[in-house]
């Protein structure tokens, strides 16, 4: 009988269960990479009253931005520690948004969606980011801008983000309808439904 030794013994306390380190950048996407010109780009938040808050690319860049250094965890079991991003906090984008709904559906260029509880993207937990490691975000990594929700598996950090629609219930998004967990906490290994 062959006995598995294992080699890496990653005892890193920053590594959630079932994850291993990579120096690479995890990529998980379902279709072709959309190419969106910054001129055509916009980000919207839409509430139950039909009010739509909208930011153009220039308006997004004019908002106060933050440098964020966080660990990211892909459901395919890769983790990357200490990644550096720059972007706008969702707290800033939601500052003037009035809603009584508790869930959001995030929409991306290319048609993809992911669901989140509103409280999981406020209070300094999520950003719309447009730089990675000091450089503009590549289209294949979600540029011009992506959501960053680092405390959940990385598919929640929707690439090519274009907006957020408030929703009554935690209706599933794209990957969530295709077998992935509704919530996606890496520390609880919420990988699959």
């Amino acid at each position: 009988m062959a006995v598995f030794g294992g080699r890496r013994r990653e005892e890193n306390p920053d590594l959630p269960p079932g994850q291993h380190l990579t120096d690479g950048f995890p990529v998980l996407s379902a279709g072709p990479t959309p190419r969106i010109d910054e001129e055509d780009w916009a980000f919207v938040i839409q509430t139950e009253t039909g009010v739509t808050h909208r930011w153009s690319w220039a308006e997004l860049l004019a908002l106060p931005s933050e440098d964020i250094t966080v660990d990211i965890h892909c459901v395919t079991s890769w983790s990357k520690l200490g990644t550096g991003w720059r972007g706008v906090s969702l707290d800033t984008l939601f500052a003037d948004v009035e809603t009584s709904l508790e869930f959001v559906m995030v929409h991306s260029y290319g048609g993809y969606t992911t669901n989140l509880p509103l409280e999981e993207i406020l209070d300094g937990k999520a950003w719309v980011v447009y730089e990675f490691d000091g450089e503009s975000l590549d289209p294949e990594h979600g540029g011009p801008a992506r959501l960053l929700v680092p405390h959940l598996y990385f598919w929640k950090s929707a690439k090519w983000v274009r907006g957020i629609v408030m929703q009554d219930d935690d209706e599933p998004g794209f990957w969530e309808e295709n077998g992935y967990h509704l919530h996606g906490d890496p520390w609880r290994e919420e990988r699959y439904a």
Binding site: M1, A2, V3, F4, G5, G6, R7, R8, R9, G18, H20, T22, G24, F25, P26, V27, L28, S29, A30, G31, P32, T33, P34, T76, S77, W78, G110, G111, E140, W175, N178, G179, Y192, A193
Partner: protein, 245 residues
């Protein structure tokens, strides 16, 4: 929907596909069967409790070569030079050994016989594995729409499942494309897939095929973009990337 847990899989058969890749067939009690294109997680546990998990594409569909009573699944592992898990699975795991398996996983990158549109599969390297599952499911389906495979690989020695894909009775029409070295008397020289190659060797946009692309990220990016330029709609293209980078 219940949460897929870990099941024990016993290695029933194994054979090398290339000097670095090995086909592994496991018998898995209570395996529910899988659709073509799905994958599984494998978990290995060392004597001291240390565990490692990796995902692998399945080359089998349904119950594999087994049956509902004795289900099987087949997967392919390619040895990564710095790998922790793949060298063990390729070089050390023996017939009769047990691993833990979780799945089947993924419901997007799948082909089912109910699919009525023509299908174009495009593989880069070991990205061919889910397409072998699709080809097998297609062979077992009567009256399914045509399925074509364009298989880009480095050299003849790197081919997975050559006999099966080249068989005159195969229900999938496979085109081989070599990027580094070609077989003797091959009509074309080695080189990366170009837009011209794709235009010549894949179903045209007018046929409205459903397109599956699987391979390293750079390959998938390049091919998906070229297919869109050839007139295919974004919505008709499904991709699966691996390699992490």
């Amino acid at each position: 929907m219940s949460s897929p847990g870990w099941r024990s899989g016993v290695l029933a058969r194994a054979r090398p596909l290339t000097p670095t890749a090995r086909s592994l067939v496991f018998t898995v009690e209570d395996w529910p069967g899988n659709e073509a294109g799905q994958h599984v997680d494998i978990r290995l546990t060392a004597p001291d409790g240390y565990q490692a998990v990796r995902s692998y594409s399945l080359a089998s569909a349904g119950f594999g070569a087994g049956s509902a009573d004795q289900p099987e699944l087949e997967l392919v592992v390619d040895r990564l030079p710095d790998g922790e898990v793949s060298p063990f699975l390729v070089d050390e795991l023996e017939v009769g050994d047990t691993v833990e398996l979780r799945g089947p996983l993924g419901r997007w990158f799948v082909w089912t016989p109910q699919q009525t549109r023509p299908v174009q599969l495009i593989a880069g390297g070991s990205g061919v594995v889910p397409f072998v599952a699709m080809a097998r499911a297609h062979a077992g389906a009567e009256g399914a729409a045509p399925m074509r495979l364009l298989y880009s690989l480095r050299s003849p020695a790197d081919a997975f499942y050559r006999d099966e894909l080249s068989s005159p009775t195969a229900s999938v029409d496979t085109t081989w494309h070599y990027t580094r070295a070609v077989p003797a008397e091959w009509p074309r020289s080695a080189g990366r897939l170009t837009a011209d190659d794709l235009a010549r060797e894949t179903l045209p946009a007018s046929a409205r095929p459903l397109i599956f692309i699987c391979g390293p990220t750079g390959f998938v990016e390049t091919v998906a973009r070229a297919m869109i330029e050839l007139g295919h709609a974004d919505d008709d293209i499904r991709t699966e990337r691996f390699g992490g980078i």
